[in-house]
Amino acid sequence: MKKCEDIRELISEYIDGDMSGDLLSEFEEHISSCEDCRNELNDVKSIIAMLNDTPDEDLPLNFKDELHERLLEEKAKKKNVISLVIAKYSHVFASAAGLLIIFTIWMVYNNNIGLKEGSPNVNSIQSYESNEYSTNEFSKDGSLDFGNSEFQSNMKTFLNNDKSQADVGIQQAQGQDAVDITGNIDKDASKYQVTLGTSNPNMKNGSQEIEQAKDKVAIIASGDANTEKQDTTNSSDDINISFPTASIAAVPDERLYKSADFTVNAKDTSSGINSIRSIVLALGGEEIGVNAKFLEPKDRGTGSGDGVSSKMPESISPEADSRELFSFKIPANEYDLFCQKANEIFGPSNVIINGVIVSEYESRKKEIQAEFYEIDKKIESKAKDSKWSSSSEYKDLINKKNSLTKELDEIEAQSQYMTVTIKVQKLK
């Protein structure tokens, strides 16, 4: 026979329907004979019923908009924090102090950038810094020797994708004398804020070495040697400088174009082609097909003007007015960088975009997403029906989902690359 205290402990179990067998009958027996416990049980039941009955309230009116704003802010923050820490910098001092400037660029940005860690220089720098530096902003994720060329090109990609216009042509350390300067860069939409710290207590703000380091950082970050910088130092240990960046737009991972068609004027066609080739290779692209040489119809001598395609490849003499058509694939999200580089090498007026074809990837992706959502909603709404999962309608929906997934994978794969066709002309 159960006592009242025991019954109290069992009330929820009973109400939740978790009780059976002997325990259940004991419980019910007690309840039927004990008024106090019966009242208690009923009170609890009522309260639970009332709690259950509490309706869910709707989200406040502005909720989604406000949240959206905050998410966008957060995203902007995420993208723009760069810790620019150490890079090798050649700097020679006459003094016996012997200082080494090391900057390493360190990504806190952990998503898109594939950095190669484990290059031969990494470990030595890491052990070097862990003793020397009190700032601990850069130990875990790999501080890399800036001289590592793979790293450099990744860095270029990263910074340029972010429209930071960083000039990453930093010179290798040449002398043995240099100064340790570590720092981090916070980049927001309008400026870089660089904080430099040094392990050398004699290195004070205003000293020549620091000034030069600042200049170098300014160049690294903004690509412009004349960038004005403000000194926002607030302590003798922190050396802060900030300087405006060129216009920075946070560039999302866009794959806007499917193909693009250019004409480029170069001083010399073959060197022009080679330049373009090297850009393409640096961006991870590759040439398509054979380098075809074309003749202007008028240079084909006797030529049959009878509609033979002027694209028939023939060898030409150097004096002929020759054009070169050159096709290649590049990763679609490198398109902007490609254009930049081409402009730099040939001059913006010599790079002419004849046309682009926009990729349908994004819009189709959205359509597929929406379809997914609808299908999932349908499936979930009927999930309670036990016969649902064997119905043909359900199977159809699943098949539909599978084929959509396939399509999505395919167009995703296709959209990774875009085709660029360039006609290289000799500058007249």
């Binding site: 709690l51 509490t54 909720f63 949240l67 959206h68 998503n111 898109n112 999932d376 989902k401 999505l408």
Partner: protein
């Protein structure tokens, strides 16, 4: 996780805000209501809920899929609400301390009343209001479990995952929480008229504010 969710999750991890919003769509209302019941007023609930989703967005990278995404989300949400409650409690206690002694020597008795704004304080005569106030007086752990189980309808397994406590413990806790809630309400009842008693007898449903 459905294909669609996996897909949206992948995009969200890369920082795609729209994908994230789509993915979170179906959890938002519930999180808001959990916050509302725990915190007791709409403004705080809205604020904390937004913080929760921003926090989730920030830490998308660390979600590996070892647990259900829903569990993860509700866990972050409940922790955030509890943090807010504790924060409030400290503030509240401090201000009460100041007035602890009245001039005539009376003491002000501290009540575990965590509502800074009388948003949900309505006339005590109505049972629903009494219920809300009573929930508010529960200790943190009991409050949480009442909200999750009896108001939001999570299963014991789900609750166990969310609060990282064994199911058995959750079950005994809910019992104690319900009993304590009942005690609190009955105390309140002594202050009222028969309306209260009639309301309980009638049960929920008929209750009109």
């Amino acid at each position: 996780m459905s294909e669609n969710e996996k897909y949206l999750l992948g995009l969200s991890k890369k920082g795609d805000v729209k994908a994230f919003e789509m993915l979170m769509e179906k959890y938002q209302k519930k999180v808001f209501n959990i916050a509302l019941r725990l915190l007791g007023n709409h403004d705080d609930a809205s604020e904390v809920t937004q913080e929760v989703f921003v926090k989730i967005f920030k830490s998308m990278g660390s979600f590996k899929g070892e647990s259900q995404i829903s569990t993860w989300i509700y866990r972050i949400a409940t922790n955030a609400c509890l943090d807010e409650l504790r924060k409030r409690k400290n503030k509240w206690v401090m201000s009460l301390d100041e007035e602890y002694h009245r001039e005539n020597g009376d003491y002000i008795i501290q009540v575990e009343d965590n509502k800074p704004t009388p948003d949900v304080i309505v006339e005590q005569k109505t049972l629903k209001a009494a219920l809300n106030n009573a929930i508010d007086k529960l200790p943190e752990k009991y409050k949480l479990i009442i909200v999750l189980r009896d108001i939001q309808g999570f299963s014991y397994e789900q609750i166990s995952d969310i609060v990282k406590t064994p199911v058995g413990t959750v079950k005994s806790r809910i019992n104690r929480a319900r009993l304590q809630l009942k005690e609190i309400i009955l105390k309140e009842r002594e202050l009222f008229s028969d309306n209260f008693v009639k309301d309980i007898e009638r049960g929920a449903g008929d209750e009109k504010m």
